[in-house]
Amino acid sequence: MNILVLKPEISSLEIRYFKHEEQCPALTKKVTMARDTDSILSGLSKTNEQILHTCGESAGIELIAVHATYGGTEFKSPEILSQNTLKKLEKLLIHAPLHTSILLELLKCIQKVFPQVPSVLLFETAFFNKLPPREYTYAIDEENGSTGLLRRFGFHGILHEAAYQDTLTRRMQYQHTNNLRVLSLCLEPQPELTAVYNGHPLTITSGSTPLEGLPGHTTCGELDPGIIVDLVQEKGLGPEQINELLCRQSGLKGLTGEHITFNNLFAAADGRHRFAYKHFFHRVLLACGAGIAAMGGADYLVLSGRYAEPGRNLGLRLQARLTHSLNTHEPIALSTFSTPVEYVIRTLARRFYISQKQSRNCRELLAT
């Protein structure tokens, strides 16, 4: 199946085109776009032309996979795009106005440019609809907070779930898989860790946004809520300035004073970036401990995301530290799930579409 994978960002669109079952995309590009309909339409049309020109008429797009971030509690699984999808997304505008409005614009443009091509939406938050209430609930009165849906989500659910399934599959080859307990650490620019027990997430470091939890490239991670008010009262900062500070000036950048990635951090763990590395290690260690308490133990620590391979040493240190702390006969196993997320999206979208089509065919057959 020829699949076009789209990932909308705030001011750009990532595009990958996979021909049939080829491993590598035949086309990869990132289109900078203004957030208006004409700009998106133009971007998509040009992409379509480019695919046909580069790959030939037979390379027509057969399925579109849209990699979306926030689906709230409306989207608990993948969904084939329909008018009902758009209505459900409109309900999310109050909770995530920026991301949702961009997604809605993109979907409407997809319907115009590719009217005959089915689209599957996959949401990073969908997996975390399985979080138990004791984990996702904040101890704040929603009415007083008045900020819309106040609960924790995770924002790398696609990779976490894929990493868990991959671990499960490999374990099935030599051992029983009842009650598999996985600490899944997704090392992306905004990293997060979840404890997954028997396929269900029990803990998550992220919050109602990816800002909470582990520090990222430029995001602050955990922070005393009192500091936010203090920044207004003592420094006279406004909400936009605070947002800029916490989202784009903090994290590894705040700790080191430099624009660095996790690649740079792990490469200089014992040298130049020692302090930032120790800070990050401590935060991840605490999250692991919390996850182990939630699950009553852990069988695997799995790293995923674009920094999973560079983070292998981090994983080894965590594994050693946790194994020393714990009262178990078997050490926590360490593994890496290196498949890039866009590949996972391609596979999941195809699988979902085919299963939906087969279900529909069955229903039609039974109806006749």
Binding site: Y138, A139, G145, A287
Partner: protein, 402 residues
């Protein structure tokens, strides 16, 4: 070593708790509380005083803490005939300036004024009281003991936030941690109970009060991390405090109502936590009372206890992992000392950390201190009554004897 009668003050915004303790014997001579200090309220100000086995209440107008101090000294002189040899003060927040118990003199009094704003409800009345004591009793030496001081050993990698360095330095944004006096006290008591030198003692200390609560990771007798942070707002679910919260939430609240940071502080500190979750009470004991095995519980109350216990359990696991070789988990303060259901929920199914709770011992616990772990548990589970006033008296005595 000279015998001393040390008067310990624990100052609230409209109250003044006190205990007169003899060191080194640690015998309590008298105790009490001056209540409703300040402007007139629906009930009159009073001193509730306890000496030997007698307790009584005396109404007397106390417009400020200076007046309350004078009345306390009068009460002590009248009831026990004893004047204090020294005074120990509890201060909640010492910032980075005060990391050890500090003798009061003109210089330190000036320095104390600079930390007045760090804990705006607690520090100002305590500092005003110190001034009153200096003016009214210039011959009585004083020591200030800070709740944050014990946590001054939290290493930078654990104590710093991932904010720009210049901001952290300028604004002092780091984890200070709180309940330090209590954590230090119970950790020392626990090490003593188990016969382990404090310099080699590792533990997780759980100060679970009916109001505030915090956990402390302890390595070699020193604080490694504390669940509270820059302010007492961070960390666990508390009676009216939210605990951990996505920074985007208060930020969004500000965006919706930019002129009300005070209102947001009020919501997060006084109208969140157990109170917000339950809609019924800020005291978790009331919530547990509303849930019994034999009758159908209100789902909202069950959710409240679920969130409360889960957050605490995760922190316990986090700190057990950070401490690496814990000798003990220590429970203290109102909830930690008196609620076996809470201890059981936090400690059960924690064999992976080498910890096993003895359910029967836990349930029937009456006398403290006690060890409620099974004999085979590598990590002991201790329940120890906190005594912040005694801790302050001990630290003050140490200062005067050195």
């Amino acid at each position: 070593m000279t015998d001393m009668n040390i008067l310990v003050f624990n100052c609230g915004s409209s109250s003044l708790k006190y205990r007169l303790i003899n060191l080194p014997s640690e015998r309590e001579i008298a105790a009490g509380e001056a209540q409703r200090i300040g402007p007139p309220t629906s009930r009159p100000s009073a001193i509730v005083h306890k000496c030997d086995d007698t307790e009584y209440s005396r109404e007397i107008s106390m417009r400020d803490h200076a007046t309350a101090y004078k009345e306390v000294i009068n009460e002590l002189t009248t009831s026990s005939g004893i004047k204090p040899d020294a005074i120990g003060h509890r201060l909640v927040h010492g910032g980075t300036r005060f990391i050890t118990p500090t003798r009061i003199n003109d210089s330190t009094l000036g320095e104390l004024e600079k930390i007045r704003g760090l804990a705006p409800i607690h520090n100002p009345p305590a500092i005003d009281l110190i001034r009153a004591c200096t003016e009214q009793s210039p011959g009585i030496p004083q020591v200030a003991v800070f709740d944050t001081a014990y946590h001054s050993t939290i290493p930078d990698y654990a104590g710093e936030y991932a904010l720009p360095q210049n901001l952290r330095k300028e604004m002092g944004y780091r984890k200070y941690g709180f309940h330090g006096t209590s954590h230090r006290f119970v950790v020392e008591e626990a090490a003593n109970y188990l016969g382990i030198p404090i310099s080699k003692f590792n533990a997780v200390s759980c100060h679970l009060g009916s109001g505030g609560a915090s956990l402390c990771a302890v390595v070699n007798g020193e604080s490694l991390d504390n669940s509270m942070g820059y302010s007492p707002l961070q960390g666990l679910v508390m009676s009216t405090r939210s605990g951990d919260l996505d920074p985007a939430i208060p930020l969004r609240m500000l965006s919706m109502n930019p002129a009300t940071p005070t209102r947001i502080t009020d919501i997060l500190n006084r109208r969140s936590g157990v109170l917000a979750l339950s809609g019924l009470s800020s005291d978790i004991r009331d919530i547990f009372t509303g849930i019994t095995p034999n009758r159908r519980a209100n789902p909202r109350l069950q959710k409240t206890t679920g969130v409360y216990l889960w957050r605490t359990r995760k922190y316990l696991g986090a700190y057990l992992a950070a401490v690496q070789d814990p000798h003990a988990v220590v429970f203290t303060d109102t909830i930690g000392e008196t609620m076996p259901g809470v201890r059981l929920a936090l400690c059960s199914d924690m064999n992976v950390f080498g910890m096993e709770i003895d359910s029967a011992a836990n349930e029937t616990l009456r006398i403290l201190p006690a060890d409620i772990a099974t004999p085979g548990s590598r990590v002991r589970i201790l329940v120890i009554r906190t005594n912040e006033e005694l801790a302050i008296a001990r630290q003050s005595f140490e200062i005067f004897n050195n």
